[in-house]
Symmetry: D2
């Protein structure tokens, strides 16, 4: 095992120790033999390969860590991804995933599901179903459904309470703050921090920014959410006055 | 035991269950027999009577609960206090305490110590020492010391870390917020809350107000304390702009 | 105007200065002449009398301030309430309200609506509609609706976002903490504070208790809410282990 | 200007926009001509070169960003540092700095001041004074002073209120949390976070961890600081029970 793969393997193993529920799901799938031999396309990496599925993964260059990609490949996943890949390359990656005629697509931003409906309709013949992770992806798929152009059953993973109550608020809340700290290298304490939108993600960001002693201003057009922000102790202003 | 006394006794017993350190001190004093028979004047109620001292208590009308006063009397303390007493009555109470020629004065605001130095100098003949609880009282006594007019050794109880780190910040912090809530009957969440001064008391008030979701502004003339308030995430403004 | 009434009038006027939306509603009702002369029964005091309605108010003895009751009476409201009234007296108060044959009932805990359906069915002949404020009251009315025994249209005021997002979380959150402080006279900081249930009210209490530096434990049987409490940084335990 | 230097220059310029006080100091030094031509050794990078001094910088490999080092060199600073340098190399860097016979040493951890007192005593002949940044460095220098072995006047920069009230609490508080997030890639919310020591740094870490919804336990042997942690709402435990 080369150094890159070993580094990725360590990261994957580390993450797994903090994901007991995912491990339980994997063990159950393996025991029930329910995904063995199925062809699955994944846009976010998961444990399906270990449960016996033929898994192909593609993802956006900005989100790829090459060592993790190598580690996934070493676990038997077909990986189509490279750090810093261009949009053209990404399109190529998605097409390679579709060329494997997946029976299930686990999508993130609905890019692959939409490709299957536009330039690669032959994929729909064998596609049993799909799952979509993001708010924006679900919005797009709902629009297709309303137009009568959605031809495969989809699970709106985004709408699960375990998704939006947690991933959006705590996950995106922390990763946004962390990204701001890493990219600015500034002290958050005492800084004026403007959060535009007080949905689940905005709530998560605003509370964490305050938890690091920023002075937080919330901008929000929905009157109920704006009132919530106000009663949560934030200053509430129109964007034009806040920035 | 009449109803008032019984109510006071219940309150005193309730408070005692939350004061294990004070109980330990009382037990040690009793065991060592160190205050038995001493004449002590107290401006805040304590457990000395139970340790065998002859205790006389006086306090300001605004701080008196008549049932607690009755309860103290039932425990053998000489109590000179009445809810809603006038300043003239309070002066009379203090003088009655001094008439007992206390050997020790445990003061709160230095009123009694100062009386002993001005209109009742005969008390100083038998006064062994005094303790003062408040910041303002200690300031007054230090000024007397500098003038050479302080004629009794005093303990600046206020300067103990166990006093200013805790009583000022947590105690006054909470009781101020509680008083604002009780007297205004308003929701704190979303209110603009101006805290003038960011010393121990101000820090305690500001954090609690924020903990109840107020939007807190701090006014502070000391530049270090103002910078602290700023980095603690508060808006910092001159009083004229904050109010 | 006697002293009690004057004190109540001052409190009512004070509260009104903090209720701009209610004042706007009152002014619109008055302008549109939409409640003039209507007979309305109210279990929580509001501004309808000033908009021209014939308002009768009753409420539970524990929630009555006699001065406010006197102040309402001075404003032309028929008040049936007395501080410390017994349950029997309260029943009598409710019946006096119903005897006025209200066209509209604005209820709090659904006591009056239920009385109208059980022992005073004649009231239903002229009752146009009702509104219910509390979660528990709405649950009771929904059960009656399911049984086919609810004979008057009801507005579930409790289910308005402006109610449960704000009144429950911020209002009950603060008043619970305030009641604990007033009745125990203890420092909240450092105390172990157990909150049973992490709905809107529980969330409001837990955050405020933490905002006053308590160590908060949340008990919750719903797994999503328990996970929320956990990710909000609270210790989560079964009641049996928490207490 | 090569790419590395340009990247470093951008970072230095970015940091400067957030350091108005440092810019004011630099401008005053330049105006007063007070450091022009002086030989200064610096272990943390500052703006002295632009004020006309001959500045030599060395620092530990773990703290070096090669682009910033290149940017400093481009501004005329003599830089002795390389990302990932070994302790032996660092010793060499410090010696090169000392070989320039600095008149002033601005130290961080007192490494260079101690070297000048041990293996390079000739430097002391021309060394006018030194400044030390860290708590641990100041402790070491105080010990030397007590032993009579400190032969140069030192400023304990660490003891300035602007240092320990801010750098320790807010700066180290944030950078520690940020480092934990970056190195573990885990959600902080809901994690049990043990902070050993409740001094300025520990206070800063504990509050930020709680601000990100961790469940924080504080370990502290000083009883006053432990009581503070307790009243700040943290669980307080011996290390053996906390971990």
């Amino acid at each position: 095992m080369d150094g890159l793969t070993a580094a990725g393997e360590r990261k994957i193993a580390w993450a797994a120790t903090w994901m007991p529920v995912l491990s339980m799901v994997r063990d159950r799938l393996r025991e029930e033999n329910s995904v063995a031999g199925r062809r699955i396309a994944v846009i976010l990496p998961v444990d399906l390969a270990e449960a016996g599925a033929e898994v192909a993964v593609a993802f956006q260059g900005a989100m790829v860590h090459d060592d993790v990609a190598a580690g996934l490949a070493a676990r038997g996943v077909s990986v189509f991804a490279r750090r810093g890949s261009s949009p053209e390359e990404e399109l190529g990656f998605f097409e390679q995933v579709l060329a494997r005629r997946p029976e299930v697509v686990i999508d993130d931003r609905a890019d692959v599901i939409r490709l299957a409906h536009t330039t690669h309709p032959e994929v729909l013949e064998t596609l049993v179903g799909a799952s979509e992770e993001t708010t924006s992806g679900v919005v797009a798929l709902r629009a297709m459904e309303a137009d009568g152009t959605l031809n495969v059953p989809c699970i709106a993973a985004n709408d699960a309470r375990c998704k939006f109550l947690f991933d959006n608020r705590y996950g995106s809340g922390q990763s946004t703050i962390s990204a701001v700290m890493d990219s600015t290298n500034l002290l958050v304490a005492g800084k004026r921090f403007v959060v535009v939108g007080y949905g689940w993600v905005g709530k998560g960001i605003a509370r964490r920014a305050r938890g690091l002693n920023a002075r937080v201003v919330v901008c929000e057009v929905d009157p109920f959410a704006a009132l919530e922000a106000f009663h949560d102790g934030f200053e509430v202003l129109p964007v034009a006055e806040a920035c």
